[in-house]
């Protein structure tokens, strides 16, 4: 071995000593389990068998032809994600515009809107369960308004909107700060130039600001979409998927199929479907949104 080869070998060994710890942990916690899931999805497996029985595409065929609950969960998750993405981003952006302007107390206000975001979703669900039951009872007694008598968790359409409301309430602060960061990158002279040209505040917002913060919108929509499709905790603590199965999300359905019903093989097939649903939708979203970003 000559000197050059020797040096290359040493530098490769150093490279490995820096990267193998990360590789090992990532293989262990993500990549090996993911590959195992793909393999198990072609089997019938109760979680205990040493060697699961290979059944080909039977699990996938069952999901799409013989499991109305799973398809309902898919539809429910898509609907809920759509509503949370739209409301979260519109409200967050609107608030960000005001909180980015030159007003007093904006830092305190940002902190106030961020607070729900630091509370775990499982606890948030219980907070709102209290509000929707005990709190609303008292509001009704005080105001006599019929809305407070509705069964916000017991009716299947209302439960949907309750979940959207709670989810938007909890995560708004996070997206608010993303948008504020985005607004701060818009060059002041661009806004001034538009003002001198006689553009109204509304026109300035839609013609100048909005195109300039497209990258932030792409990121915020991507996060809210992918989190929306993974919704689990808040449903578990607010409605437990009910009434009936009306608010069952894909993630909750996967959990139940595997850990409650004991059909691990079938559960992994559902989880592979979830992987593709999220992958396809987020890649599509990012592609569409990126096309609208402008270069300065």
């Amino acid at each position: 071995m000559n000197l050059h080869q020797k040096r290359q070998r040493t530098s490769f060994l150093i490279f490995l000593s820096f990267t193998v710890p990360a590789l090992a942990t990532i293989l262990l916690s993500v990549e090996i389990p993911f590959l195992m899931s793909v393999i198990y999805s072609f089997t019938k497996w109760n979680g205990l068998d040493k060697i699961p029985e290979f059944i080909g595409l039977a699990n996938y065929i069952e999901i799409f032809t013989n499991d109305p609950d799973a398809l309902y969960a898919l539809g429910f998750t898509l609907r809920m994600a759509a509503f949370t993405v739209v409301f979260t981003n519109i409200f967050a952006l609107a608030l960000a515009v005001f909180l980015d302007s030159d007003i007093r107390g904006k830092n305190a206000l940002r902190v106030a809107f961020y607070i729900p975001n630091i509370i775990s979703l499982i606890v948030i669900g219980y907070v709102w369960r209290f509000i929707f039951t005990k709190g609303f009872d008292s509001f009704y007694e005080m105001t006599g308004l019929g809305v407070f008598m509705f069964s916000w968790l017991g009716d299947k359409d209302l439960a949907f909107f309750s979940l959207v409301l709670v989810r938007v309430w909890q995560q708004l602060g996070f997206y608010l700060v993303i948008y504020i960061a985005g607004l701060q990158t818009v060059p002041k002279d661009l806004i001034e130039a538009a003002t001198i040209d006689g553009a109204s505040p509304v026109a300035r917002f839609f013609r100048v600001t909005l195109p300039m913060i497209m990258p932030s919108i792409t990121v915020a929509v991507f996060y809210s979409l992918s989190n929306g499709l993974k919704v689990f905790d808040v449903i578990l603590s607010l409605t437990s998927g009910g009434p009936g199965n009306a608010t069952m999300s894909i993630a909750l359905d996967i959990y139940r199929t595997a850990f409650v019903t004991g059909r691990f093989g079938y559960g992994t097939a559902k989880s592979v479907v979830l992987f593709f649903v999220i992958l396809v939708l987020t890649v599509f979203q990012v592609k569409v949104f990126k096309q609208r970003e402008v270069e300065v």
Binding site: F12, I14, F15, F18, T19, P21, L23, T25, I26, L28, S29, V30, E31, P33, F34, M36, G47, L95, F98, S101, D102, I103, L109, V111, A112, F113, Y114, I115, P116, I118, I119, S120, I122, V123, Y126, V127, F130, K134, G135, F139, E141, W169, F174, I178, S216, V219, S226, K230, D233, S237, A251, Y255, A258, F259, T268, S271, V272, L274, F275, I278
Partner: protein, 275 residues
């Protein structure tokens, strides 16, 4: 003059919105201080005399100190491991411009595209085989690979802004590559480290699903969120305990947040916007 009046009006309106926004949390605070009978009569009214005994009782019923320690161990072990493995790998991958380095980088950041729920069933199996279930230490270890891809990506981007000369200087002075990294480079990566710590600590502290999957069988190893879930299931009707339980669960995170809010918000954003 007109401008400042408009700005004052906006402040007032936004403050009102913020108060309504946080009103649900205020309701939790006041109800956690009431007797059971008071909550049943009126959930909106203020407590007649604050019942701090609710907290004492809930603290005991939940076995709070044990839960706090478990959550702290899982979060501490998790954050430490993520910072360690991802800073090392992010640095080396950023400095090595070869084909194998590029392949390694792709393998290590690919998991950012894999949602947790799509592999959680098999993850439980892996954790069982490795005897990492049923203890907060094991939970912390399982977090390493889950948090590393994003953290590594952030370090990888930041290392480019640090002059290579610094590496060379340390090496010429006779330090080993590892020592040069830990003594010279890692301190310079501090802005990213702050982000990585914030993002991961907030997530691990509040995480519910992975503790549910790995710890729910063993009573002694529960984390705060997991115990809160069990506790609310058990005390469905006794709202005064449930509400005190909510506050005991969220107080540590809220206090840390209020103390460090600038760093936390900045850290979360740096993590979100870079990817």
């Amino acid at each position: 003059m007109k401008r400042s009046r408009l700005s004052l009006a906006i402040t007032v309106i936004l403050t009102l919105i913020a108060l309504i926004y946080l009103y649900p949390l205020f309701l939790i605070v006041i109800n956690s201080l009431k007797t059971f009978a008071e909550i049943t009569i009126n959930a909106v009214a203020l407590p007649q005399s604050p019942q701090f005994s609710n907290y004492v009782e809930t603290f005991r019923l939940m076995k709070y100190p044990n839960l706090f320690m478990n959550t702290l161990i899982a979060t501490g072990v998790g954050v430490f491991g993520v910072v360690l493995v991802s800073s090392m790998a992010g640095y080396k991958l950023s400095r090595t411009k070869t084909a194998y380095s590029w392949v390694m980088f792709i393998i290590l950041i690919a998991p950012m595209m894999i949602p947790f729920h799509s592999f959680m069933i098999a993850l439980v199996k892996v954790a069982k085989v490795l005897h990492l279930t049923g203890t907060p230490w094991g939970l912390g270890v399982m977090y390493w690979g889950l948090g590393a891809p994003l953290a590594l990506f952030l370090y990888h981007g930041f290392v480019k802004s640090i002059p290579r000369d610094l590496d060379d200087c340390a090496l010429i002075d006779g330090a080993s590559p590892m020592r040069a990294f830990f003594q010279v480079i890692l301190p310079l990566l501090q802005p990213v480290t702050v982000s990585v710590v914030v993002i991961n600590a907030m997530w691990m502290w509040n995480d519910f699903l992975l503790p549910l999957l790995l710890l729910s069988g063993s009573k002694k190893a529960l984390t705060l969120q997991l115990a809160a879930y069990n506790f609310f299931g058990q005390y469905k009707v006794e709202w005064h305990y449930a509400m005190a339980g909510v506050l005991l669960t969220i107080i540590p995170a809220v206090m840390i947040f209020l103390a460090l809010q600038r760093h936390i918000i900045k850290g979360m954003i740096a993590g979100a916007v870079k990817t």
